[in-house]
Each structure stands twice: as C-alpha cells, then as structure tokens.
C-alpha cells in the first residue's frame, strides 16, 4: 500500500493471505452507494480467482499483484486497478465502471461486457472482447486470435497487432487496430474511418492515456453478410 493511500480517510486494506476471498467479495458487494469506504486495497491476490466481482458501488479497488480468472467480473460502477496480470475473463460481463490491468490479460478479456471501460496496458491473449455488448476495451499491446468474435456493440481499440480471425462473425462493434492483423475472420472487413469513428477513438485513446492519433489506426467492422442466410454468401461461413 502506498503512502498516498494510507492518508485516505476512507480506505480499507484487505489481505487475502489472512482473510478469505468470500469475505472480501461479500464486503464489496454489500457496499451501498453512500458507503464510507471508497478506496480498497487488496494484498496478496496470488492469482486467486473471482477477486472483486459483482461490485455495484462506485468504489475504487486496487489489487496489488496478479489476479486469476474473472477478476472484476460483472463490475457495475467501480474502478478496479490490477497492479499485475490477470487470468481468463477479466471484467467479463462488466456493466459500467473502469477496470485497468497494468500487466497482461489472458483469454476472453471483457467477454460479453455491456458497458464501462477496460484498459489493458500489456497484451491480451485469445478471444479478447468475445461477444462484447457495449463495453469499450483499449489494449495497449497485442491481442490473440479470434478477438471480438461475435462482438455485438462497443469499441475495441488495439494499439499493437491482432492475431488470426479478428472480428469473426462480427455484428456492430467497432474495431480499431494500429498494428497488423494476422487475418480477418468471416464477415469482418476494413471500413472507412468516419468522423464519428475518429471522435470515439480519440476519446478512448485520451481516456486510456495512449499517445496516438486516430489516423494511425485502421477501422474494421462487419460486412453484414452473415446476418441472414443467403446462399450466395455460403462461402463466408
């Protein structure tokens, strides 16, 4: 815990080497909006799963170390910062709030998330943003294969490279890639960057603290050939 956090009046420290994960999550989940513990620090996460899941209060949680699966899952309004890397499904099904991973994320980061902002300072592996439904995701490094698979809405910003089959079976999510794309998935295509796209992307880059211009990115989106079956498009499946 840093000295700055110690001086906060409304801070709480939770050490997972001496307290149970269940106690932590139930404390976080029962916080009301008007709680008086606005800054939490979680020590010794040691890769444990489901840390800081299901929070509905606008609190700030700092996880000091590597976290396991589903970290900050179902987040609705909290700010969760991980000073380390995370396992599968970070911020899965997030509704609102901010999840910031200072290291790398494993597969399915931000899966099915409806809202909020997920920032990953390092790389995200396979299936980043799978079935995303409105979340904004900014990955400062690379993403693995099948990222944004069946992504429905929201924005996925990739500052590095994307793996195979980017945006396979994509719906209306916007994908922005600064680096290279190993291959596009079925029904994913390069789109022209509109003024609206540029405004959205510039805002996300600013919010995530990325020093890059929208013009450096390529916009990908759905070719909309797979929405309904048409025999002429059979080859796209």
């Amino acid at each position: 815990m840093s000295a700055a956090q110690k001086t906060l009046e409304n801070s709480a420290v939770f050490d997972l080497s001496s307290s149970s994960l269940r106690d932590l999550n139930s404390a976080l989940q029962t916080l009301g909006a008007a709680n008086n513990h606005s800054a939490w620090t979680v020590l010794n996460p040691r890769g444990g799963h489901a840390i800081a899941v299901g929070i509905t209060a606008p609190v700030s949680v700092t996880i000091d170390g590597h976290a396991g699966y589903y970290c900050a899952g179902m987040n609705d309004g909290a700010t969760v910062v991980v000073n380390g890397s995370v396992g599968t499904g970070v911020a899965e099904n997030m509704m609102s709030g901010l999840v910031h991973v200072k290291g790398d994320a494993s597969q399915s980061a931000g899966a099915t998330a409806h809202g909020g902002l997920l920032i990953i300072d390092g790389n995200a592996s396979a299936r980043c943003g799978i079935s995303m439904k409105g979340v904004d995701i900014v990955v400062k490094g690379n993403v693995g294969h099948m990222s944004a698979f069946m992504a429905q809405s929201g924005n996925l910003v990739i500052c590095g490279d994307a793996g195979e089959a980017l945006g396979d079976s994509l719906y209306e999510a916007r994908l922005f890639v600064k680096g290279t794309v190993a291959s596009m998935g079925a029904d994913c295509e390069v789109k022209e960057m509109s003024e609206e796209d540029k405004t959205i992307l510039a805002g996300l880059l600013a919010n995530a603290g990325v020093d890059a211009k929208p013009e450096e990115f390529t916009r990908y989106g759905s070719a909309r050939k797979l929405y309904n079956f048409h025999v002429d498009n059979a080859g796209a499946y």
């Binding site: 396991g68 890397s85 396992g87 790398d104 494993s106 592996s125 396979a126 693995g144």
Partner: protein, 292 residues
C-alpha cells in the same frame, strides 16, 4: 480440466528443493484434478547406467529384486526404481517379463516416473516427492474425462528413454490414431486419449523424427483440445493446440523456467514477484533445455 506443473531449474543450488517445489505446485492444482496425479523427475544418473521405474500389484517385494539381479533398488510405495549397467538391459527385461505383476513404467538414465490414484498431496507423499531432488520435473493432476480413473490412466505417459508427456484437454480422434499406431506396432494399455498422444510421439521418434518435429506432426494429426508438456533428459517442451482453450502460464527468472495451468500454481516459487510471466502462444512449439 486437469492441471499441469513443470519446473526446470537453471540454478543448480535449487536442485535439492525441486521435489518440494513441485509437490507444492501440484497441491495447488488439486481443484483442477483431484482424482489422480503423477510426476516425472529428472535426478541423478550414473554414467553408463539405466534406471527402470517399476510398478507392481499385490504387495510385490521389490527388495527381493536386487538379490536376483545384484542391482540397486529403491522402493517408493507400489513403485520402485532399479539402476543397472546399460548393457544388462536385455537380461533384466527378460527376468521382469516373467513377473506379470510388474510393469516397467519408465526407462531412462535420469528420469523416474510415479503416478497413482488419489489427491495430489496423497500421491506426492506416497512416493516421497517433497524430498526428491533433480534438475527438472513435470507433474499432472487429473480430472478424468476420456477414460477410467486408474493408475494406468494417470499422467505422465512415457514416450521413450528419459521422455514423458502430460496433457490437459481431450483428443477427439484418439481412437482412429490408436488404430493406425497399433498397426505400426505401438502398444497401448488403456483407452486413454493421452496415451495415444504419447504413443504418437513415440512412433514419430522411432521413425527418426526429432522431438520438436514430432510435436509439429502432432499439430497436424491430433484433433481436439490440448496443452502438452513433454519432458526430456535435458529439459522440457510445451505445445498448445491452435484454438488454445486450455490454459498455460509460464514464469521465467534467472533461476528457473516454470509452467503452470494457472498462475496460482506458480505463486509460491522463489522470486516469482520478479519473474517474467507469459502465456505460450497457440500452435507454437517451445523448448527449454540445459546447456549440454
């Protein structure tokens, strides 16, 4: 599910700790594989000597073996390790063949291989893993999906002298591949899918392929989900299928390279907070080896 732990030491000062660290990693992976466990450990070997790890049923008295062979024998519960000059291999195999209650689990200059049914902690303690030392070890905790919970179905499976393989996942074409391999003379003891993967690698090696070539061939011939970790006399290798559903986390420091199905398994390793942590990429063959 299933859990895999692997630890390859770069710093010889850690060698006396290898068994204890490996047992700790397997213990954490209990909830990924509570029904059986096993490990291969690469310890000391004598020049010109071979080791057999044997497994017996029915309270076989392994210690009667040295009297027969005049060789060294160490008992580990229902397993035992015998060591002998390599030129006596054929003679010893002939004698062991007259004992149907004994199976030869592994052959190697350095590798010893133990596995059994039970919680990982029970299996580790039964064979005395925490006190073992060596340069590297590979372990597995099993949650059976493809075949019965038996000692034979536990991992690792040997693929040749000083070689073994463990697997997290399930193969969908193992019956086809097994039939092909059986026609080529590869023998199988179980209906287990991983035994087919081990047999596939053994077959490729028999046909003159190198281990990395055998693993590349596995990418073409084996269908299904897999993270494989293979152990060799000099190190270990990792291969994940192209879809990469099955987890894999690596940690590297100046002292070691470690593999865990989850980071949790690595959390107790010394200096882990300063380790380079990464996920091996799909469909890419990795090897870490000691300098010759």
């Amino acid at each position: 599910m299933c859990g895999i732990a692997g630890l390859f030491l770069k710093n010889p000062a850690l060698e006396p700790e290898l068994g204890r660290l490996t047992a700790g990693m397997l213990s954490v992976l209990t909830d990924r594989g509570p029904d059986s466990a096993g490990f291969a450990i690469y310890g000391a070997g004598a020049p010109g000597h071979l080791k057999f790890t044997l497994r017996a049923t029915g309270g076989f008295d392994f210690l009667a073996l040295p009297a027969k062979f005049d060789l060294s024998c160490t008992e580990h519960d229902d397993h035992a390790v015998i060591s002998f000059p390599a030129e006596r291999e054929a003679e010893i195999r002939a004698v062991l063949a007259r004992h149907p209650e004994i199976s030869i689990v592994s052959v190697g200059e350095r590798m010893e291989l133990f596995k059994g049914v039970g919680l990982p902690d029970e299996v580790s303690n039964r064979f005395g893993l925490p006190k073992m030392s060596g340069s590297h070890a590979i372990g597995h905790t099993r949650m059976a999906t493809e075949s019965a919970v038996t000692t034979q179905g536990a991992h690792p499976f040997t693929t040749g002298t000083d070689q073994c393989l463990v697997h997290n996942g399930s193969l969908s074409n193992h019956n086809d591949v097994r039939r092909v391999l059986m026609r080529e003379g590869i023998k199988f003891e179980t209906q287990n899918d991983t035994e087919v993967a081990a047999g596939f690698v053994a077959y490729q090696l028999r046909e003159g392929k190198k281990l990395d070539e055998a693993l590349h061939a596995a990418l073409k011939s084996l269908d299904g989900f897999y993270t494989f970790v293979v152990g060799t006399e000099s190190g270990f290798g990792v291969l994940r299928d192209p879809v990469a559903c099955k987890p894999a986390v690596m940690a590297e420091t100046d002292d070691y390279v470690a593999f865990g199905s989850e980071y949790r398994a690595l959390a107790d390793l010394p200096g882990i907070e300063r380790a380079h942590i990464f996920e091996p990429e799909p469909a890419k063959v990795y090897f870490w080896e000691r300098a010759a």
